[in-house]
Amino acid sequence: MINFSFDGKAYTAQTGDTLAAALLRNGIGLVGRSFKYHRPRGIMTAGVEEPNALVTVGEGGRAEPNTRATDVFVYEGLVARSQNRWPNLNFDLGALFSLASPMLPAGFYYKTFFGSAKRWMLYEYFIRKAAGLGNAPTQADPDRFSHRAAFCDVLVVGAGPAGLQAALDAAEAGKRVIMVEQDNILGASLIRDPQELDAAWIETTAARIRAAGGRILTRTTASGYWENDLVTLTQRLSEPGQTPTHGVAQRLWHVRAGQVILASGSIERPMAFAHNDRPGVMLSQALRSYVRRFGVIPGKRLVIATNNDDAYKTAQALKDAGAQIVAILDARPAPAGANSGHRVYNDAVPLSTKGARHCLKSLSALVDGKTMEWDADLLAVSGGFTPVVHLHMQAGGTLDWNEDAQAFVPASSRQNVTTIGGAAEPQPIFKMVPVSKPKKSFIDFQNDVTLADVDLAWAEGYRSVEHLKRYTTLGMATDQGKLSNMAALGRLAEKQGVAIPEAGLTTFRPPYTPVTMGLIAGAGAKDAGAHVRRLALYDLHAAKNPIWQPLGYWFRPRSYPNGGETLAQAALREAKAVRNNVGMTDVSTLAKFEVSGPDAAAFLEIICATTVSKLAVGRGRYTFMLREDGIVFDDGTVWRLDENRYLLTSSTGGADRMATHISYVRQYLCPHLRVSAVNVQEHYAGLAVAGPQAKAVLAALIGEDPPRHMSTVPAVISGVPVIILAASYSGERAFEIYITASDAATVWAACETQVNALNGALYGLEAMEFLRIEKGHLVVGGEVDGRMTPHDLALDKMLNKAGGYIGASGLSRPALSEPGRRQLVGLEAIAGDIPEGSMLIPSEGASPQGHVSAAAFRIIEGGSVALGQLVDGFSRHGEILIASSPTRGQKARVRVAAAHFYDSAGERYRD
């Protein structure tokens, strides 16, 4: 026996019970409340199509709201709670809505609640409280979810008789086979009707499939059919709320199949009659499962209503189990059901039911024109069978109409999918026309949609099947119309005066059954699928526990505070060290490309908008790159390492974009060039040494005179070959040292020793911002914001006069040279600190004419300076503006100036 609790009360279940079977075993009929009218709801099915028995299973971060009691297998200590009722299931205040239901037909909320948007929010507060079924968990999920790929020749969906046979044939023909089954045992319909093929057949078939290499996955649903026969499977490795063995609760499979065989069976239809939503009304095949599989007879006095032969198997199962069948109401004329040995009434259709303490007490039916009544506590209904065509339709399939079965069956498909078994050949039924009052005849039991609502939608002009669905919310509940779509289509076809196939069909969309969000996210849930990219020297930096700054997926040290310094204090100290002495920083994340070959220079002059071929060996220059529309999108430096070997650097933020751009130009536009452009961003780790003492540090490291500004030499530091580029971003004399990443720690240590010896400092991104802003150097993503031309950034004088670079024709667009464009300017504060990102306005209340892209302080002299963009900025130097930030309540009066405040002539670089 297994112990579980429901709404705080302890019960026991037998091994293999679903929660629904266990609840019925314990005589519990009322399990929930419907969405809109809070009407009492019982267990209606034995499968995934269950619209009513939704409970919250599990606790804490594992609690799963809206779990179908029919789709969870009881385990020791399972905790289940009913939903959507206050204070409790038996007495729910929400039931008041059903008293007001005459005023609340479909779409009532479009016709009232007028007034201001604020007033609607007041009504909405109460509507949202009443809406929704379960409560969302409030804690994070303790378990993990796995994603795994699989490839097979044949994927079989459904382990019923047809599916088992198909999987066996394919596996023994040597094909790679995967078979999936939602249930936790194989057999599907065979469990309900074992006589045809006994249990042993199921076991031997499964064993033979496995022996031939086939894979069988139970508790697994084929939930989505995508392109080129890719099917997503959701596999439960633990039941809702259960602690999984390896910490993985579920697995999402992405299966690429050669061919898919759908043996998904069909779903039994309810019948539409007044008060057909009362607990105690159940589908016939479901009742048969409870009797045969679980040995549970959920009623004393049973009535069966049907329009087909299948329900007589249920009658037989009940008879075998010794239950008392009060009557069988067969919609078909005599002699249907004549020799079944039961009390059969022909031309009999249920009219209405009555209840006591929320559950079924009696029902009335129209029998050959006369109304008759029976006392019964269980009414099993069988209104026909709807083939499960979801995956066939998701695969882009078409449907045919089977007149005998009054059902759609799979026809052609765009992909390699075929349907076999019950889903392909549903059983014939007798076409019934609802005779009951439409008012309380429910077709969508969870969203409380009645036949009257369908009629109302029709009357109000919502006549396409999609309008009908959205206006009435029919089929938009957790069962997605599995029990309601066909009833609604039937009614719509009647109204349109056409046969059901002409009435139209809503779209079948993934998933077949609802899928846990954590499973969809998989491992990505923890880091949003965005892995942190680590520097080569990550451990070395981490040891100094810097303040880290995210930059794309990288994390780079922002500053190295010591002795309780704040970020600003540390950054200013570091920046001063660079200005006055020497500083050292990690620049490994810069994009870097090694471009070799006779046509290397020609290739680079296509990518870069400046000249490159004029560089002598050992020399380098600043450069920038344009998009095809002429807009600057990146900048960097280019160095001629050897006769035919260049090193190009560009921004960290634009690295992936630049790699694609270079590959496009190389592979698509110039396939014949003799050039190799290799992405070496992570091959070289890089560090920069900057400051008046930088030259001394380098000399000590390489034992010779360091290269002059914008020159490059190969060298050796502590026995490690390096490349030295004499480039400056900070405005001081500086050198960038590139080392094969695996040897970088040695060079960093040697360099740090020298820098410490001269009591220099490590500096991070924050100090680098102070240095480069004062110097007027641009940042991609800051001043280079994807909207500025070379002229707007005062770079146009460096453009390659010979043209031929990407973006040249983009610059010819007339509006790019008209007045009114935003241009790069410097800004000096007259009063107050300039807020970064603030708007530049000529006077209070005026519309912005530009903004501050980067703000900092004069490192030595103090005083707030900034870079920004300003309409016609070049011609407005000296103007006084307001840098205003209403969101931060800050502003500063600023003077427009040239975009460099420190050593504009560049003397600091010369030796």
Partner: protein, 161 residues
């Protein structure tokens, strides 16, 4: 529970050998000089001393001493060092192909993906290059900056293969 052990191999010299022209004659020159042919896409060639693995149409990954290769290429291609940015991770034990299916999209379980085969694909958002070195071992070449994240992902996945 299928077993797989995950070990990070020490850094090794890695280069790219790229041909931009006269591919056929370079192939002849290579075979003459090295004694084995340039491997086709999805294959590897050579020995532990010098192995070439092909993932791209005009580029081979060279593992080992690449000093002799520039001469063979002359003006028809270039050799560039890239080893600093790559971490080699060896997956050994019968569970390596199941592990590669976790968070992946490539069919590592295909019997045709056997010794000497190579393939580049994406696993857990990371660009990974695979080279099968024996029935129960496969090397993965992973970008340095992502290697920590992928190692963590593989170790966690290995617990519940």
């Amino acid at each position: 529970m299928t077993k797989v052990t995950i070990t990070t191999l020490p850094a090794a010299p890695l280069h790219v050998f790229e041909i931009w022209g006269n591919a056929a004659s370079v192939a002849k020159r290579f075979k003459a000089a090295m004694g084995f042919a340039l491997p086709a896409t999805g294959r590897s060639g050579g020995s532990d001393a010098l192995r070439l693995i092909r993932f791209e149409p005009t580029v081979w990954l060279v593992e080992g001493d690449a000093s002799a290769l520039s001469a063979i290429l002359a003006d028809d291609g270039a050799v560039t060092a890239i080893g600093g940015g790559i971490v080699r991770i060896r997956l050994s034990g019968p569970g390596w192909w199941t592990l590669l299916m976790e968070g992946g999209v490539f069919d590592a379980e295909d019997p045709a993906f056997s010794v000497g085969c190579s393939a580049a694909t994406i696993i857990d958002h990371v660009n990974v290059r695979l080279h099968v070195i024996s029935d129960d071992a496969c090397d993965a070449y992973v970008p340095l900056s992502f290697s920590q994240g992928l190692l963590h992902f593989w170790k966690e996945a290995a617990l519940s293969l």
